[in-house]
Symmetry: C2
Subunit: 103 residues, 2 copies
């Protein structure tokens, strides 16, 4: 059991809702804010707050454009975000293996 | 991708330090407060706070006795705690599989 593993877990990603957002974005090239909100069953306010945290960390980029004369906000993982999420999942897997081994 | 999985993660266990405590206790019958603190490199205050949260949830039991004329505080997982930790790890594993599948 390496106790440092736990502390190395990226706290930006470890929060449950942000794990869900990162995981959903990891499986898509791009998602609209609305699709993401509806997929995750989150409120506008809640999703906005978490997206902002992910943007500040450099993990998600948000772009606004017009589509059929209506504003469209889309979210996508940055390369840095994809790498951080990959590292987070790898570390989580190690922790689970340790936990399984210790049962 | 089932977005509910993330929200089902037990928030008492999901906090990084508490994951570390639960994981460490899961591999031992009983540990003294001092052993736990030193293994995890936590401060007394920090460990006390987290142990209290785990006690309130019914996951950890704490007992005090004397050993060689010195007070000894020990911590152990309750049956409920062991079950909750098992469920948490199972769910985390499902989430990782989903994330791996989506990469």
């Amino acid at each position: 059991m390496n106790p440092d593993s736990f502390q190395q877990l990226d706290k930006v990603i470890h929060e449950k809702s942000r794990m869900a957002i990162m995981s959903t974005l990891a499986s898509s090239a791009e998602l609209s804010f609305t699709e993401l909100r509806d997929t995750l069953g989150m409120t506008d306010g809640n999703l906005t707050t978490h997206i902002r945290t992910l943007q500040k960390a450099g993990y998600v980029s948000v772009s606004k454009r017009f589509s059929e004369n209506r504003p469209l906000t889309t979210c996508t993982l940055t390369d840095e975000g994809r790498e951080a999420f990959g590292g987070y999942v790898d570390l989580l897997e190690e922790i689970i293996e340790q936990a399984r081994g210790s049962k």
